[in-house]
């Protein structure tokens, strides 16, 4: 099973901001604060059959998660993004639930990293 956070990716994030751990904490906080809204957006889009909205929210969550080093979770978001792009929304709620469960681990791992 893939690790929740890819350490080299997280280290690259820290390096990209010149080793400024405070700023990385700010980024992690922004990610953790914005993610519930993105999940809410995906659920609303799935319920309303709004494929472009699902694509946008999943796309943001994919890039943000990859940025944080949550590569496995980002891959799940990428699948949701593709479903949104294709317009095939059948069964998408179950995939959102699975992603939400995976996110719990990501959230905990990130909080531990910046604690």
């Amino acid at each position: 099973m893939a690790e929740v956070l890819d350490q080299p990716s997280f280290a690259a994030l820290l390096e990209s901001v010149g080793g400024d751990a405070e700023f990385v904490k700010e980024l992690v906080d922004a990610y953790l604060q914005s993610t519930p809204d993105l999940f809410a957006g995906m659920r609303k889009a799935a319920a309303g059959g709004d494929a472009p909205a699902l694509q946008r929210a999943a796309h943001s969550l994919k890039t943000g998660s990859a940025n944080m080093g949550a590569l496995a979770f980002a891959a799940q978001c990428k699948e949701l993004e593709y479903l949104g792009r294709s317009g095939e929304l059948a069964g998408v709620e179950a995939r959102i639930d699975a992603a939400a469960a995976a996110y719990e681990d990501v959230s905990a791992a990130l909080k531990a990293c910046v604690a």
């Binding site: 994030l13 990209s16 901001v17 010149g18 700023f23 700010e26 980024l27 922004a30 990610y31 604060q33 914005s34 909205a53 694509q55 946008r56 796309h59 943001s60 994919k62 890039t63 943000g64 990859a66 940025n67 990428k78």
Partner: protein, 250 residues
């Protein structure tokens, strides 16, 4: 590898252009990171969350470069790009589209629509620096070219103005202030035009003086024509005779 990146950083820093950059992205994490990197590179940064906000802001404010996300609510990057490129006042502002590497079809579409370049997510600060720097440098060159062409147009308008007598030398002050060859041409043209105008004014004054002299001579001739005519002479003689008769009668 690190050594290569350090040398690349130094090379880019040596030629870095700075400017006012508009970042258009609906995702807070992207906005935070771009703002941080761009400000560290010395740029002034303004952030908006979607295309509609970007266009509203562009109506009021000028920017040197736009970093534009593609997938956004309200108005996406494609529509923003289409509107910018259809507007003659804003079409020259360079646009770098922000995209994930798996969105190459969208990137290609944006570049075909007139985007200058693209920036993959997650952001590499060095690549961001290189691409923003190259775009700003190109924009600066383009701005200089536009200014140059505008000043050449002023010179040609001045030449036409000399022919119609409507030239005002001060209209060439900005051209004449340039330190380059066009500035030298402007200065020489301005000086020669001033000399031409001064000569024209002197000639006009001479012509005016000649006109006055001609008018006076004409008047004298007309008077002479009347006073030297037989009719005038007869009138004069009759007047003298009348004066004489009058004196004899009294």
């Amino acid at each position: 590898m690190i050594d290569i990146r350090m040398r690349t950083t130094e090379a880019i820093q040596g030629h870095l252009q700075v400017g006012h950059i508009l970042v258009v992205d609906d995702y807070v994490l992207n906005r935070l990171q771009l703002k941080r990197h761009l400000e560290q590179q010395g740029h002034a940064v303004t952030l908006v969350e979607n295309g509609r906000q970007a266009l509203e802001l562009l109506d009021r404010e000028g920017f040197d470069l736009i970093l534009l996300d593609i997938l956004m609510p309200e108005m996406d990057g494609f529509e923003v790009l289409a509107r910018l490129k259809a507007d003659p006042a804003r079409r020259d502002v360079p646009v770098i589209v922000i995209s994930a590497l798996d969105e190459m079809d969208s990137v290609i579409r944006c570049i075909a629509m007139g985007a200058e370049d693209f920036l993959p997510k997650p952001f590499d600060p060095l690549l961001l620096r290189a691409r923003t720097g190259a775009c700003l440098e190109k924009k600066q060159l383009r701005d200089q070219e536009i200014e140059y062409l505008q000043q050449v147009a002023r010179l040609t308008a001045a030449a036409a103005g000399i022919e119609t007598g409507e030239f005002i030398p001060e209209t060439l002050d900005a051209v004449a202030a340039r330190p380059d060859a066009l500035g030298q041409l402007g200065r020489v043209f301005q000086r020669m035009a001033r000399e031409v105008i001064a000569r024209e004014q002197a000639l006009r004054q001479q012509v005016q003086a000649l006109r006055i002299e001609i008018d006076e001579a004409k008047k004298a001739r007309e008077v002479a024509e009347i006073t030297e005519s037989d009719y005038f002479r007869q009138l004069k003689e009759r007047a003298q005779a009348l004066r004489k008769d009058g004196r004899a009668g009294s």
